[in-house]
């Protein structure tokens, strides 16, 4: 993990609520009607049972205990037990089904996001570091999942309970309800006020935490320099300052909480005192049943719990919304490949009976601005022929391949395949028809067979390769990459510095296998080592985006130009062994 990565994870967690994002999120929930509906029904049941419970206890007092009705007490106790059971079971069920909903929605969004990332053009990955995109797939999706499973339930459930209690209070006894209710608006306003202050304080704490993380990460990465310059104590002093600043911001949040909760306690105390004072008087006058008063007190005490919980869960909700914003903004990036509903992709089908006749026609290409990598580049590769491409680093060799694979599109000119413009082919079909082996072999974790078969579909077992084939030698990796490409039975072969890391024995073997696999198929060989391309029917020497020399090995040696010099240089090096100076 780099400093940048770490900072990335800490980026502002608190976002604004956008109605269009909210609408999309609700849409995501509606895709899973079963857990949503069950969860909502159970939520209503929970609320109802929670509302009923204190009233039932009071009712038992008034209807059974005070009139000394034993049989009624028995049945009311049974009902009371039943209501408790219903509440407990429905709470468990509700949490479970909303968790399920959260997991389903997370999985949907995760796959949609992943599919979208897979379908982005390669250029999008040049601009956005993989680490940042990773954070979207993992952290943001989990915070969204938490929002669905915890945030939504808490907000909706508590809001329901709150309204239920308020209504119930007024229904039970209007006067007493109004008296107890006087405190409620004050409470609500205070809650909103403190939540707003908390939000600001949290954001400040977050910012300071990321400053701390960034500072520490950078210093850990540069620890050698710090030691070499004896700056440990100076840097540590600066760390302590940053640490202190973060600590202060933590105190600020604690202070807000420290005020908020006592204020709620006082409000609640006022409400209960009023109810006792007025309510007991009413019971005394016999204008109120004692059981109703008991229930009333229970409700008044319960009134503040949902309010408090809603304030607590508000942050989960907001950070979920911030994640939603980031995820949805990626989902709006233009993709290069279309997909079905939910990001489904069909397997790619290679183009049938491809001859492999490639023509570059006055192609101009730049990654950025007018830094032309290819300048008015023209080349014809006849069907079934082998072309070698040599040249310095930065000459444009790999770019040539990227254009052929349609990772990028040329700014001017066009590329024809079998007489048809490359742009008229389906991208995935095109790529599936081309077998490519690169210098920097990227293997996936899993077994040898996974890396070969997964691309082809044949069944073979093998040993685990470790993280990205870490347990293999460069040569073995190269062979594996070659097998992987061959498994797809491509119509066109591209070997991009494919034998740069292997010993000459392995190179000869690969060369032979390639010759047998590419019999009668077009092959483009890119190489530093001229021996690799020596047998190609046509060799082009690329320099700064243009063809400098072209011809067979013999013709180019006779020309005594760049190719001939390169050839002599490499011969000299090989004669002196592997002295890589």
């Amino acid at each position: 993990m780099t400093a940048e990565n770490i900072m990335e994870q800490e980026e502002g967690e608190i976002g604004a609520i956008r109605s269009n994002h909210l609408r999309k999120l609700i849409g995501c929930m509606l895709c899973h009607p079963a857990p949503l509906a069950i969860g909502l029904v159970l939520m209503v049941a929970t609320t109802a049972a929670a509302l009923l419970e204190p009233r039932l206890f009071g009712f038992a007092i008034d209807e059974a205990i005070v009139p000394r009705d034993w049989s009624k007490l028995r049945s009311l106790s049974a009902i009371y037990f039943g209501v408790i059971l219903i509440r407990v079971v429905s709470v468990i069920g509700q949490t479970y089904y909303f968790e399920k909903l959260g997991q389903r929605v997370a999985q949907d969004l995760r796959c949609r996001l992943f599919s979208h990332l897979q379908r982005l053009p390669v250029s999008a990955f040049d601009r956005n570091p993989a680490g940042r995109l990773m954070t979207r797939v993992t952290n943001d999706i989990s915070s969204l999942s938490e929002m669905f499973s915890a945030g939504f339930v808490a907000l909706a459930g508590n809001a329901l309970l709150l309204v239920g209690i308020l209504v119930w209070l007024l229904v039970l006894d209007l006067r007493l309800g109004l008296i107890a209710g006087t405190v409620f608006p004050v409470m609500a306003i205070l809650t909103v006020y403190f939540s707003a202050r908390l939000k600001v304080a949290y954001r400040e704490a977050r910012t300071r935490l990321s400053a701390l993380n960034a500072f520490l990460a950078e210093n850990l990465l540069g620890m050698k320099i710090i030691h070499l310059f004896n700056r440990q104590s100076a840097q540590l002093g600066r760390f302590n300052e940053v640490n202190e600043r973060f600590t202060d911001s933590q105190f600020a949040t604690v202070r807000i909480f420290a005020l908020f909760h006592p204020v709620i306690t006082i409000c609640s105390g006022i409400a209960v005192s009023l109810v006792i004072w007025y309510g007991v008087g009413s019971v005394h006058d016999a204008s109120l049943a004692p059981g109703v008063l008991v229930a009333f007190l229970a409700y008044v005490l319960a009134l503040f719990q949902p309010l408090r919980e809603m304030a607590d869960k508000w942050n989960i909700f907001l950070s979920g919304m911030a994640s939603a914003e980031r995820v949805f903004s990626i989902l709006e990036w233009p993709v290069e490949l279309p997909a079905g509903e939910g990001g489904e992709l069909a397997p790619a089908v290679p183009i049938a009976s491809l001859r492999g006749h490639i023509i570059f026609e006055n192609v101009w290409f730049a990654y950025e601005g007018d830094h032309w990598i290819l300048k008015d580049f023209s080349l014809e590769i006849s069907p079934g022929s082998q072309v070698g491409v040599v040249g310095h680093t930065g000459a444009g060799k790999t770019t040539l391949i990227s254009l052929l694979m349609r990772f990028y599109e040329p700014q001017r000119g066009r590329i024809l395949l079998d007489g048809k413009d490359l742009r008229d082919y389906d991208k995935r079909a095109l790529r599936a028809s081309i077998g490519i082996v690169q210098q920097d072999v990227f293997l996936f974790s899993g077994s040898r067979a996974d890396n070969v078969d997964f691309w082809a579909g044949t069944g073979k077992s093998g040993a685990e390769l470790g993280e990205r084939g870490g347990s293999l030698s460069a040569g073995e990796r190269q062979v594996l990459a070659f097998e992987r490409a061959r498994a797809a039975n491509p119509s066109i072969w591209i070997l991009d510095e494919a034998t740069a890391n292997v010993d000459s024995g392995t190179e000869a073997r690969l060369q032979q296998e390639l010759e047998s696999s590419s019999q009668g198929r077009t092959a483009v060989l890119i190489a530093h080592r001229l021996a690799t391309v020596r047998n190609a029917s046509n060799i082009i020497v690329l320099h700064k985006g243009q063809i400098l020399e072209q011809g067979s090995h013999g013709q180019l040696i006779d020309l005594d130009g760049l190719y001939a010099r390169l050839y002599r240089y490499q011969r000299a090096r090989e004669l002196h062994g592997n002295q890589n100076v």
Binding site: I65, Y80, V88, P262, S268, W277, V581
Partner: protein, 635 residues
């Protein structure tokens, strides 16, 4: 009879085993809670005040049900109404006292946690600043960061919130049952019938949650790794048009994660409500049995044992007991998290630097005295990187005179970097000896040694600060700060980077690492040379730092270095002949041993020597470059 004998025999043994078990358990507790206890003791005044405030809150918690009982007794039993206003007032008073208490424990207890977190972070970071290269080779910065943040945070949470929850639960248990007992011992027993099941529930739940959440974490890790691979290998996937297969695999792993998360949720979500249910059973029993008692009571029993008020007060007490029951579980999980974090933190805190001052170290220089002459001697030096068995250096012996310019040349892996990194003791010297001005490096104070050796590493690291601050990083604290600007500019001029800096948006005050500020590799290398020059070292060590600059700039830098005032020993490692050809002595390294040494001319004279071969290859390469340039000029 025989069983009796056995009992007699086994009893002392058992109690002995139990004693031993308890002692071991106690020792383990002391060991695993050492951080927690340390900070609790350090902030004991604050902890004490916080706990006092908590006691106040919890004591007050007992009062409201009694007030409720009194007021109901007034309402029903016909006691005088005049007391009612008092009851309401007392209730308000209780609320106020609780408010004060709640403010107090938040401020004091949570504050203790935050301060402890700060201290632990500072302590851990201080330790990290003291550990050397051999430690950082083995540990990824990402992991260390998560130790410094998440793990210190887990300890902070235990000291703040964890302690609070635990103390709260304990105080509840100490007060509420007492109040219940005073009201009615019978009803208290009744309410507590379902209680013994709770510890069992808590323990079982902890274990299940732990197991299942480990599985979730594992799946989450695998999913992340998969996403990481798919993003890093996007070109391969696209090249093979296998986006669909990747998506399928990702989807399957995501399903697995969702399934495991649900399995976890199943235990997690049922725990709280199950506890709640257990306590609510007490309420049902109260209603049923307590209600029956009320019904059976004679109508006009004066001073009846159980009044309706008592009954209702009990209902409130039972409801109050739900939280402390749940709190045990919460406290336990806080504690466990803190313990496992402490363990991880301690593992790093127990690491010590392999490069540190020994007790018999001699103070070589009086403070303020400036330079050592700069003579170096390698004597039978061998080296392996820590934790690696490959011999990078083998029996290297070489003397470098003060003021001499020595260049090392050799292929990648010949041991140049390793050799040079021993000079400032980036790695410890353990095999053979290394002397600086006749004194074993291990006997030099590390700080003094590093002041004398200006080491420029091949992997450039600049801080995301201004250019000026980066270069001035090399200034010693006792150097005069007011001449800083002049010193910095002098150094950048010597390193041939001054003009580049002036060309940046805000010149020397340009912040590095911000968007849009991209220095080239060569510029960064030259800045790092300037940074070392500011230090005015007695021995300047350049480890292959001129590879990213072109030959003309290289020449300029080398000239600058030669012309600098007070020039001392210079040791350079390089790839290129042009870098080394003017050195007083060139040393050719191969496979960790010295193969050849001499001046450029002397070495060239050996037609079959390694140096001569390098030379010829580079000639050809230059020829090639010149040709390519010429072609480019034509087009």
């Amino acid at each position: 009879m025989s069983s009796g004998v056995e009992n007699l025999k086994s009893k002392p043994a058992n109690s002995f085993a139990l004693g031993r078990f308890l002692r071991l358990r106690w020792e383990r507790f002391l060991e695993e809670s050492s951080f927690i206890r340390h900070y609790l003791w350090k902030y004991r005044a604050s902890v004490g005040l916080g706990l006092l405030a908590l006691v106040l809150v919890d004591l007050m918690e007992v009062v409201p049900p009694i007030l409720l009982k009194e007021s109901l007794d007034i309402a029903i039993e016909g006691k005088p109404l005049s007391q009612l206003a008092w009851i309401a007032l007392v209730y308000l008073g209780v609320a106020l006292a609780q408010a004060v208490g709640r403010y107090g424990w938040r401020i004091y207890l949570i504050r203790t946690g935050i301060l402890s977190g700060r201290d632990l972070r500072a302590r851990f970071s201080r330790h990290l600043f003291g550990l050397g290269a051999s430690f950082y080779d083995r540990h990824r910065v990402g992991n260390l960061m998560s130790l410094a943040t998440s793990d210190t945070d887990a300890v902070r949470m235990e000291i703040g919130a964890g302690l609070l929850v635990l103390a709260d639960a304990i105080f509840y248990f100490a007060t509420v049952p007492v109040a219940m007992y005073l009201l009615s011992p019978q009803l208290m027993l009744l309410a507590f019938i379902p209680l013994p099941i709770i510890p069992w529930l808590v323990i079982r739940n902890e274990r299940e949650v732990h197991n299942r959440s480990e599985k979730v974490q594992e799946a989450l890790g695998q999913l992340s790794a998969m996403a990481q691979e798919a993003l890093a290998g996007i070109r391969v996937i696209k090249g093979f048009a296998k986006e669909d297969v990747q998506l399928g695999r990702f989807r399957a792993k995501g399903e697995e994660l969702a399934g495991l998360s649900l399995r976890l949720a199943r235990v997690q979500t049922s725990f709280g409500p199950t506890l709640d249910f257990t306590m609510s059973l007490g309420l049902v029993l109260l209603l049923f049995v307590g209600g029956k008692q009320l019904i059976d009571q004679p109508v006009d029993a004066a001073g009846a044992a159980v009044t309706l008020g008592t009954f209702v007060a009990f209902q409130r007490y039972i409801q109050k007991m739900v939280w402390p029951m749940a709190a045990i579980g919460v406290a336990l999980s806080f504690y466990q998290r803190a313990v496992s974090s402490s363990k991880r933190l301690k593992a790093v805190l127990n690491e010590s630097s392999d490069v540190s001052d020994r007790s018999e170290v001699m103070a070589v220089m009086p403070k303020g005295a400036w330079k050592t002459p700069g003579g170096v001697e390698f004597r039978n030096l061998g080296f392996r990187f820590p934790g690696n068995s490959i011999e990078v250096l083998k029996d290297v012996s070489l003397r470098i005179e003060p003021g001499e310019r020595v260049a090392f040349i050799g292929a990648i892996g010949a041991g140049k970097s390793a050799l040079l990194s021993l000079l400032p003791r980036i790695y410890a010297v353990s095999d053979g000896m290394l002397f600086i001005d006749g004194i074993d490096v291990n006997r030099w104070p590390v700080e003094e040694l590093r002041r004398q050796v200006g080491f420029v590493s091949q992997d450039v690291f600049l801080f995301s600060e201004t250019v000026s601050e980066n270069v001035a990083f090399g200034l010693c604290e006792w150097m005069e700060r007011d001449s800083e600007k002049a010193v910095v500019e002098k150094a950048t001029q010597l390193a041939a980077v001054h003009d580049d800096v002036v060309g940046l948006i805000s010149s020397y005050r340009t912040r590095l690492g911000e968007r849009g500020i991209n220095l080239s590799g060569g510029q960064k290398q030259r800045l790092s040379i300037a940074r070392a020059l500011v230090k005015q070292p007695s021995i300047l060590v350049l480890d292959d730092v001129l590879s990213s600059v072109d030959v003309q700039t290289e020449e300029k830098i080398l000239q600058g270095l030669r012309s600098r005032p007070g020039r001392n020993t210079e040791i350079v490692a390089a790839h290129r002949i042009s870098t080394v050809r003017d050195a007083d002595r060139i040393v050719v390294l191969e496979n960790g041993t010295i193969r050849q040494q001499g001046t450029h001319q002397q070495l060239l004279a050996d037609a079959r020597g390694a140096y001569r071969i390098f030379y010829e290859q580079q000639q050809l390469k230059e020829d090639l470059e010149h040709y390519a340039e010429a072609v480019e000029l034509q087009t």
